[in-house]
């Protein structure tokens, strides 16, 4: 099933399917690119950032960015 990274639930895992062109270069330096496996670690309240685990390390991403990343989640 496909959803936005920002819609993933706590402990949900998935694979990055598509990243909006506008932020590809911006988040590549954070180790996030298409094909990468991600796990949702924490969601901060009041439209705060999400924390995902990529390659065994945690990275926080602003909710606005997470809205532009599409993930194929495991069932």
């Amino acid at each position: 099933m496909e959803k936005k990274l920002s819609q993933m639930k706590y402990e949900e895992k998935g694979r990055i399917k598509e990243i909006d062109q506008s932020l590809r270069a911006q988040i590549a330096g954070m180790g996030i690119r298409e094909g990468k496996e991600v796990e949702m670690m924490t969601k901060q309240p009041i439209k705060g950032p999400v924390v995902v685990n990529v390659d065994r390390s945690n990275t926080s991403i602003g909710l606005g960015l997470a809205d532009k990343i599409t993930v194929e989640v495991e069932r």
């Binding site: 590549a28 330096g29 390659d55 065994r56």
Partner: protein
């Protein structure tokens, strides 16, 4: 005086490495117009005094905040600098992104695979030789906190040469210019 820039993401041990390399010859500076501090020091390289600069941590050369802007502009200003790209060995992929950006700009680069012990503890195996072959620049594993690999790093700094992105892309069989 020749300059050596220590570049890398935040929390990869740049400052520890810096303190080890510069020893006691350190001056703290405030980058003009910002609140971002960076430290400068001196070290001996190949019988020559060189200035070594601890650049603020940055994810990439396309700045997203003030510290990253400083990092990117420092690199831009120091056209003849040698760049030591410091990578957290337990998070290699992230670090390589910045390294490739610096290589792409034509700077002579040495890669320090720092926190090698952390990677080892996490059962992460990195083939430094192979990485060196692919990147075409020296790659040295280091544990800055314990001073491991620093002699080797300084020795290899003398041999730092600009890498060629096209060749790197060719070696890994990828396509160039897939982003931007």
């Amino acid at each position: 005086m020749r300059k050596v820039l220590l570049m890398g993401q935040a929390n990869v041990g740049k400052s520890v490495l810096f303190n080890r390399l510069a020893g006691a010859h350190v001056t703290e500076s405030n980058y003009p117009g910002t609140t971002v501090d960076f430290a400068k020091g001196r070290m001996r390289l190949d019988h020559e005094d060189v200035e070594i600069i601890d650049v603020p941590g940055t994810f990439s050369l396309e700045p997203k905040d003030r510290a990253e802007e400083v990092a990117a502009s420092m690199l831009k200003e120091e056209k003849d600098a040698l760049v030591v790209c410091v990578i957290d060995s337990s998070k290699v992929e992230r670090g390589l992104y910045l390294t490739l950006e610096v290589i792409e700009k034509g700077y002579p680069v040495v890669v320090a695979l720092n926190m090698w012990d952390v990677a080892k503890d996490g059962n992460i195996k990195i083939d430094a030789k192979k990485l060196e072959q692919i990147l075409g620049v020296p790659v040295v594993s280091t544990v800055a906190t314990r001073g491991e690999g620093l002699k080797e790093l300084v020795l290899r700094m003398k041999k730092a040469a600009p890498g060629e992105v096209e060749k790197i892309v060719e070696k890994v069989g990828g396509k160039s210019g897939t982003h931007n």
